[in-house]
Symmetry: C2
């Protein structure tokens, strides 16, 4: 494994984890833009824009894009989070240049008004689908209560109102502001030919005008609130509870990951043994997620309405006792470390997963962390 | 990559593809037994037995098994095919011995009568579920028509009759006959410590009595038949068509794989462009599968009942023309090779997938094929 880094004159970053023993390769474009960079009026524009890139570019129709990715045997996809929009492809190393050319093309979408209106219906359908399945939008409502007016409180998909009212011109404007070289990291993992990668990047991105990258980080002020939503058709009751946790810049994030695993992993955790194993709850879990400057501990419970008051009581006890009468034991910590390290190592076998890891690390913290360093950081956490 | 092979005195085979650059490892037990080795009365016993192994062994309850796999951070699972039953785990290399001990334990199930009756209901439910979802059991009915009384014509899950009538004593008898060292291959891939693997195998399997392995291969006599099943609740019509293809011992199986991709892959194939892309059919695909001594070309169509007669006509034309007026073109072959090779290479990144590949190859053809040799064999196929 060798980590290499370069930067174009216009600010676009290029990073690669080169593994000469790999047979495959993954390349991705990490754009520093997501729900966090949207105004309330434009809520969901990052995700909608990601959809639109696949509808056609200035040089290719949607069908031509599909055929071109097929021609290079590439698996290509994209996703949008609160903080990033990621376009990626996995393929044979000999197609590195062609895959990058296609990804670069995606980032210059045509944004044709007729495609925009058609795709708007698809996104609206997606929003309604979320509302219609458990927990019936309760997770997004809880985020909104917790974060208040802060952009992290808004749904990545946007709202029916924001998407309905969005214009293609507003999306173009957003694209011009956010899709600038200073906000883009080109990452590659696997059997990478780095010299050719940089040459390709220069060819496909070198002419892009530099623009002011970065993002405006408004401080988060978590709100303590409680709200109940009635969904007559649901047979189960769902509870979402959010609490502030270490952010992406906080070294305690490894401890937070371990703590969430010990207390609330899907299997073998304290919540599991207390609620799921004896059949008191269908689901009882605690998850940790990180953003810039803040993280989240998310508790999720699903059970019959009759059982829920007692379940909530149990969860409160488990959390309170972990801090006092029943501190985390050495054997629990060891089990959680084995779980997380196994998962990390097995996931890292795929160059696509290494791509996600190094791209996110670079765009979040501007550094490279090898799988060994990551494992070491987890193993160093003590009770 | 280094391939290593050993064999215990009782006949159990041990193979490994050792990759010193891997961080993870996968181990598996490939038992040469499946639907093909069942009598009509015992149809489904291989799959049912696989289920039962997770219900408890002589030394562990089901819960203890789960906890033990959790303790080693292993992802463990099993599956049954027409010809093999495979138990496997993926984990960190330092847990190689413990994972193998657990897998070996699985192969000595307690087969407690009360668990047997409970699990019987689970399997029956699984059978009914298949009947209730598209194509509503038509695929299994078509197999049965094609293979006639041959065991390959029976469903891996068995029938409601065979499972209902099965006794735990009959399952024990089947286990004693089939789960003998001569029918078991222990395979490992990834960061394997082969010396320790062989030592572990000796410890956990060395005391097993040798037994006559192998299988009785009855010749297949494909039947030409047509049958129509009416399913009033279905909105679509489904057509399954089976045709004999090169078997697992036939060198033309690479050409068969490429042909199926060119004519009937999910995207970009002749069937796709003729039927799916223009919206005439929801699905139109051709797949190739291999068994000992026979393979199958399976055509699958789903469309409105009104459109189906025309669609069937189109499929017939596509197949007939491929053999005469419109032979496979060089560019189509090239595209299919890129697709298949990309898929193979990307899948091979996971040691779990390499495990499946080397285990199946060894138990089917008694040899080792590296990923490079596999790619070479595909690339050598000409129009």
């Amino acid at each position: 494994m060798e980590f290499l880094h370069s930067r174009l004159e216009n600010g676009l970053e290029i990073i690669a984890e080169c593994n000469s023993h790999a047979h495959g390769e993954a390349v991705g474009l990490f754009v520093r833009t997501g729900a966090r960079d949207e105004t309330e009026q434009l809520a969901g524009v990052s995700h909608f824009l990601e959809h639109m890139t696949f509808k056609g570019t200035h040089s290719r129709t949607a069908e031509e894009l599909n055929r071109a990715f097929d021609d290079v045997g590439a698996y290509c996809n994209a996703f949008t989070t609160e903080e990033n929009t990621v376009y990626f492809a996995a393929m044979l190393p000999e197609y590195q240049d062609r895959a990058l050319e296609l990804l670069a093309d995606l980032l210059q979408p045509a944004l044709r008004p007729e495609d925009f209106e058609t795709e708007k219906l698809v996104v609206l359908e997606e929003i309604r689908m979320y509302e219609d399945q458990p927990p019936f939008g309760a997770d997004e409502k809880c985020r909104s209560l917790f974060f208040g007016p802060h952009p992290l409180g808004r749904h990545i998909l946007g709202s029916v109102e924001s998407i309905t009212g969005m214009t293609v011109e507003a999306m173009r404007q957003y694209w011009r502001q956010r899709y600038v070289p200073g906000n883009i990291t080109l990452a590659a993992a696997g059997r990478v030919d780095f010299e050719r990668l940089v040459a390709s990047a220069r060819r496909y991105f070198g002419h892009w005008e530099p623009g002011p990258g970065g993002r405006l980080l408004t401080p988060v002020q978590p709100q303590e609130q409680f709200q109940l939503f009635h969904k007559p058709s649901a047979s189960q009751q769902y509870v979402i509870q959010l609490a502030a946790a270490p952010g992406a810049d906080d070294p305690r994030r490894y401890a937070a990951t371990l703590l969430a695993t010990i207390l609330g992993d899907d299997t073998g955790s304290r919540l599991f043994w207390a609620l799921v194993d004896p059949g008191l709850a269908e689901t009882a879990s605690l998850a940790y997620s990180e953003y810039r400057e803040i993280g989240l501990f998310s508790t999720f419970l699903a059970s019959t309405p009759e059982q829920m008051p007692q379940n909530l009581q149990t969860v409160r006890q488990i959390y309170a006792r972990a801090a006092q009468q029943e501190p985390i034991r050495e054997d629990e910590l060891q089990l959680a470390k084995t779980k997380i390290c196994s998962h990390l190592v097995l996931a890292s076998e795929r160059c696509q997963n290494r791509l996600f890891a190094i791209g996110a690390e670079w765009i979040q913290r501007g550094r490279y962390v090898s799988i060994q360093e990551e494992l070491e950081a987890i193993r160093q956490v003590t009770v």
